[in-house]
């Protein structure tokens, strides 16, 4: 993650994030046994509050590491990103804070994207690799306007039903501490390398809690950098991960059907996706009414 994490942290830095100050938030990075450890220099170069902890040896699943990170968090609102390769849009944190004020028990997420013209599971077939991604980012000027990332990204599979359809998981999940306490974090029985569907399980359980309101940050997102992770490189098939899910939960996975509250500003770079998402939603509605 030596290539991806510096960009990720840059996207979470006070200079990039809009609408809040450095003292308003802290970032906690749990290095889950990366062969090339996250360097102290990277931590020092971060403008805001950043804590780094390294697990070594580390379990193959990120569940324990995520729970450790959650236990360290001192904020009232706590966000979780399971993968250090996800760039954030410039308003992700400020909008999450705003969304936290809109409901008594909010479960907040933002749509997930993959950088590039295809999802990263299909990157090899499309000739998309880290070098292509580096060029794409270098030409974009995302550091000055992170919303331009929408222009070069593809909606992730978990959001394949569009912005107005149910998502399979959250790649950036924000909850208040009482909700995290109720969830108990990620289920550490998910022991597959990469965690399998542990993040899907977390999202489903969060959405199923009593009295929660799902808030989707329309206009914000996370953007996955191509790095050959466990899921996007298909280390395990969906069937293997789903079998693990069923073994752990006793049920088949279905995405939560909560009706979200949508919050955020829609920029021009998102309009095409909004149109397509609306069409998908209309088609689904028409199919239901048949």
């Amino acid at each position: 993650m030596a290539r991806e994490l510096p960009r990720t942290l840059q996207s979470l830095s006070p200079g990039y994030q809009r609408g809040l100050k450095a003292d308003d938030y802290e970032v906690i990075v749990i290095d889950n046994g990366s062969p090339q450890p996250v360097t102290p220099e990277l931590v020092k170069s971060f403008e805001g509050h950043l804590r780094l902890e390294r697990l070594d040896p580390a379990p193959a699943s990120p569940a324990w590491a995520a729970n450790h990170g959650l236990s360290l968090a001192e904020g009232a609102l706590v966000g979780l990103i399971v993968d250090g390769a996800r760039l954030a849009s410039p308003g992700l944190l400020a909008e999450a804070l705003r969304a936290a004020c809109l409901a008594h028990r909010p479960v907040i997420t933002a749509p997930a994207f993959h950088l590039g013209p295809v999802r990263h599971m299909q990157a090899a077939e499309a000739g998309y690799d880290q070098a292509a991604e580096d060029h794409l980012l270098a030409d974009l000027g995302w550091e000055d306007d992170g919303y331009r990332l929408f222009e070069i990204s593809t909606l992730a599979g978990s959001w394949g039903r569009g912005l107005f359809g149910p998502a399979g998981e959250s790649s950036s999940l924000f909850c208040l501490r009482p909700i995290w306490d109720a969830l108990g974090g990620l289920d550490e029985r998910f022991a597959l390398p990469g965690g399998g569907l542990v993040n899907h399980d977390l999202y489903r359980r969060a959405c199923a809690l009593d009295g929660v309101d799902l808030v989707v940050l329309l206009g914000e997102g996370t953007f996955h950098q191509f790095h050959g992770g466990a899921a996007t490189s298909r280390l395990h098939t969906w069937h293997e991960m789903h079998a693990d899910y069923q073994a752990n939960t006793g049920m088949a996975y279905r995405p939560p059907d909560n009706q979200p509250v949508y919050v955020g500003q829609v920029r021009p770079s998102l309009l095409t996706l909004l149109e397509r998402s609306a069409r998908q939603a209309i088609n689904r509605q028409a199919a239901h009414e048949k």
Binding site: A66, L77, R105, S158, G160, R161, G165, L197, T237
Partner: protein, 139 residues
């Protein structure tokens, strides 16, 4: 309590303010095994599936364009999440013999013991029929 009422109640958020920071963000970073999910069996063509695959449909390269369109159309017009897996003929046929749903020429499946398979889900879709008709697979 109605949703509207909830929005006007004092929130857990307001109860919790007072901690050192307003917001904390925990990130798990790892190179090869990061759960960079977004998977959801999302190989269906056009990037329209997601949300947890209902089924994986196997096919072979010659049929991929039409089956991909079919899967995309199905996912767009239903609650189903179907993923498409494309494999060489021998692997696709082998998958069928293990009970994986597939869209393949029937001639390829002559050696498969269909009676021993559990094929219990029929995905109904008018749009799918239209797709196949447009490509000449149905009268």
């Amino acid at each position: 309590m109605t949703a509207d009422a909830r929005y006007h109640r004092r929130s857990d958020w307001e109860d919790a303010v007072g901690r050192r920071n307003l917001l904390a963000l925990a990130i798990v970073a790892m190179v090869a095994m990061a759960a960079c999910g977004d998977d959801d069996g999302d190989t269906a063509g056009g990037g329209e599936s997601g949300g947890g695959a209902l089924a994986t449909v196997q096919t072979a390269p010659p049929l991929e364009p039409v089956v991909s369109e079919l899967v995309t159309t199905y996912n767009d017009t239903s609650d189903g999440d179907v993923e498409l897996a494309v494999a060489p003929q021998d692997q696709a046929v082998e998958a069928v013999s293990q009970g994986i749903p597939a869209i393949l020429p029937s001639a390829w499946l002559e050696g498969v013991d269909a009676d021993g398979l559990v094929i219990g889900r029929i995905l109904e879709s008018d749009a799918a029929t239209e797709v196949f008709s447009e490509h000449g697979y149905l009268p």
